[in-house]
């Protein structure tokens, strides 16, 4: 099985992607970058409790899909899902508020960092138990197929997730039912602290398994927004055309530890250094400059996204704690929680 690598050379400002789309990618990368950094700061200030799993370093994957997806497509992601939720258009205040356990949070403080959801933006949930959302995503795809819309479900997960049973069941059924779903494995080389290579029978945990589901093995450079965007565009088109699922492995790296408290010390220094040198944000900035985009344009977007994060931070801080009454709300569709009459 030789996975085919999808990083076609980019040609220039007005190629198949074009400047406007690239600025969108740039903006989404920055939104994620700045928001995640802020989340980390707020955690250090003890304003974010619980856990949180940042996408620093992995921004290009969320952005590439975020820009390629249609508004009415659906996304499903993991506990490491701030990025994927944001790129669908969810409010920064809602995201930060939820991390801080405030009333303004996307989930009113009931879900927390690992469960960000914004149904109105098609962000159909962040799932904290490894693997579960892959079968759930195929259900959304089935629903689109059944109703004859051409919506697509996109499902993001990590390299470690490829070793759990639900991965296998979902991939098989997606092919058998020719479902419009795109599975995106963000291979950041590690589970929590264990290198994926130590616990996986194949080199490319997703791509080398694609054949087991009748799919081509696709690997993209997950640090290159253009590469991800192109792969996303192709897979989405395939799904929309009724040609079934895709499985894409995006190679990337997280800059910080697995979760809030983890300094990531288990990773060799040279490895970290090599990947920091491939930080998607300066790399993409350089490409855009090379293509002739004005520095001022890039910096303005940078400034705007920083300001947006600042404003969201203030709004979230100003939001009160949730009212205790919500504890017994919304177990059921009638809004309540009673299990007896």
């Amino acid at each position: 099985m030789s996975p085919r690598t999808k990083t076609k050379a980019t040609s220039g400002r007005n190629d198949d992607i074009g400047e406007a789309t690239r600025l969108g990618l740039w903006r989404q990368c920055l939104e994620v970058r700045h928001l995640e950094k802020r989340a980390y700061d707020l955690f250090l200030q003890n304003l974010i409790k619980g856990t949180s799993h940042l996408s620093l370093g992995q921004e290009a994957v969320a952005a590439g899909f975020g820009v390629a997806m249609r508004k009415d497509d659906w996304s499903f992601c993991t506990y490491r899902g701030h990025a994927h939720t944001l790129v669908r258009g969810a409010s920064m205040t809602g995201v930060l508020g939820e991390l801080m356990g405030r009333e303004c949070g996307l989930l009113g403080g009931k879900g927390g960092s690992m469960h960000l959801t914004s149904v109105e933006h098609g962000a159909m949930g962040s799932y904290a138990i490894i693997g579960a959302h892959l079968p759930i995503a195929i259900g959304a795809a089935w629903s689109a197929q059944y109703r004859g819309t051409d919506q697509v479900a996109v499902c993001f997960f990590g390299d470690g997730t490829t070793n759990i049973g639900a991965f296998h069941e979902a991939l098989n059924m997606a092919t058998v039912w020719t479902l419009p779903v795109v599975f995106v494995c963000e291979n950041n080389l590690y589970m929590e602290y264990t290198p994926i290579g130590e616990v996986t029978a194949v080199e490319h945990p997703a791509a080398d398994r694609a054949g087991a589901y009748g799919l081509p093995g696709i690997i993209v450079d997950g640090n290159d927004p253009d590469a991800v965007f192109r792969a996303a565009r192709e897979a989405l088109a395939k799904a929309r055309a009724g040609e079934g699922p895709s499985l894409i492995e995006a190679k990337t790296y997280r800059h910080s530890g697995h979760s809030r408290a983890d300094p990531g010390k288990y990773r060799p220094d040279e490895e970290v250094k090599a990947w920091l040198a491939r930080d998607p944000i300066p790399m993409y900035r350089k490409r855009l400059l090379d293509f002739g985009v004005k520095e001022a344009v890039l910096d303005a977007i940078d400034a705007e996204t920083r300001a947006a994060v600042d404003a969201a931070t203030e709004a979230a801080k100003a939001s009160p704690e949730p009212a205790l009454a919500v504890i017994e709300r919304d177990v059921w569709a009638d809004g309540g929680a009673s299990w007896r009459n």
Binding site: V119, M124, I129, A132, A140, W142, Y146, V331, N341
Partner: protein
């Protein structure tokens, strides 16, 4: 009124709702072309076609995941898990995803879906195909739990479960599939969360579920005929929501209560009801609360062993006589 078997009532309930609502879809292993391994869904494929009635691989997580994803995007799926024992292979989707997602998302997500499954013993299938696990589902906040005892309730409660906007785990009892009963003609729908008083007595209130209902009724007849003990018998029908109104009212009337449970003893549904009664009707009770359950063992397979393990009419009679003496 038509006479239907319990298994025919399953198909009738599904058909009624599929005919009514094009968003109702049905999936599971061997449910379409074969009509289900218990033949409870015969005819649905023919009536509604392969788009709405779908056979799946042996992938229970994918089955329930698909049901959940479809429910959250506008469909009303019915998923079959062939034996309730197999809920264990997809328990994460049931207990962690389906049950919790509405709450975690503060109501953003609605999950109108039904998980149908064949529950209970009596078929000599052994410990991995005979469990009564209604208490597993009852223990998980966010799931509604229904277990009908007769064809009319199968149809009416299944229809209600399909129309309900919350996830419902619908336990059909294997040993009842062949049982016949009158089912109202035309559209038939019952109300979830309602128990049913099947027999009225002054001495003791007996609470039973699914296959234990006919046994409790038979025991009540014997107690009346042979021991002049008059039992009220309640078919609990729905564990969540629980009709405590009916249950507590009847318990207070007799001052004595017994549960007849097929689930193994520890943390069975009867324990929960016993704890409610012991808290809320303490001063109305004239005698200890009695639980008649399968002992806390896996179910053995040999005829005589299985029959003696699950509560029998004889055991119910003997236990109640002793409790009332």
């Amino acid at each position: 009124m038509a006479e239907l078997t319990y298994r025919e009532a399953v198909a009738a309930g599904i058909a009624q709702e599929m005919a009514r609502d094009p968003n109702v879809v049905f999936l599971g292993e061997d449910v379409a072309a074969a009509g289900g391994v218990f033949k409870a869904t015969v005819g649905l494929l023919e009536q509604f076609g392969p788009r709405r009635v779908r056979d799946t691989p042996i992938s229970e997580q994918a089955i329930l995941g698909a049901a959940m994803g479809a429910a959250m995007t506008g469909l009303r799926p019915i998923a079959e898990i062939m034996f309730s024992d197999f809920l264990a292979v997809c328990w994460d989707i049931v207990a962690n995803e389906i049950a919790k997602t509405r709450y975690m998302t503060a109501g953003q997500v609605t999950l109108p879906l039904v998980i149908r499954t064949a529950n209970g013993g009596g078929s000599r299938f052994g410990a991995q195909h005979s469990q009564s696990v209604e208490n597993w589902a009852m223990a998980v906040p966010g799931l509604k739990v229904v277990a009908p005892s007769n064809p009319a309730d199968v149809k009416g409660l299944l229809a209600a479960a399909i129309r309900d906007d919350d996830p419902v785990v619908f336990f059909e009892h294997k040993s009842l599939y062949a049982v016949k009963g009158e089912v109202p003609d035309g559209e038939h729908i019952e109300r979830l969360g309602t128990a049913k008083v099947l027999r009225d007595g002054r001495d003791v209130t007996v609470l039973a579920l699914a296959a234990m209902v006919p046994k409790a009724l038979a025991a009540a007849e014997r107690l009346a005929a042979e021991h002049r003990i008059e039992a009220t018998v309640i078919d609990v029908r729905s564990l969540v929501p629980l009709d405590t109104e009916t249950i507590l009212r009847e318990v207070v009337k007799t001052g004595r209560v017994a549960t007849v449970e097929e689930n193994p003893r520890l943390c069975g549904w009867g324990a929960e009801i016993a704890s409610i009664v012991a808290e809320e009707c303490f001063w109305d009770l004239d005698a200890p609360i009695v639980r008649i359950t399968t002992p806390h063992v896996p179910l053995p397979s040999a005829d005589n062993l299985e029959d003696a393990t699950v509560p029998t009419v004889e055991r119910i009679v003997a236990t109640l006589r002793q409790a009332i003496d």
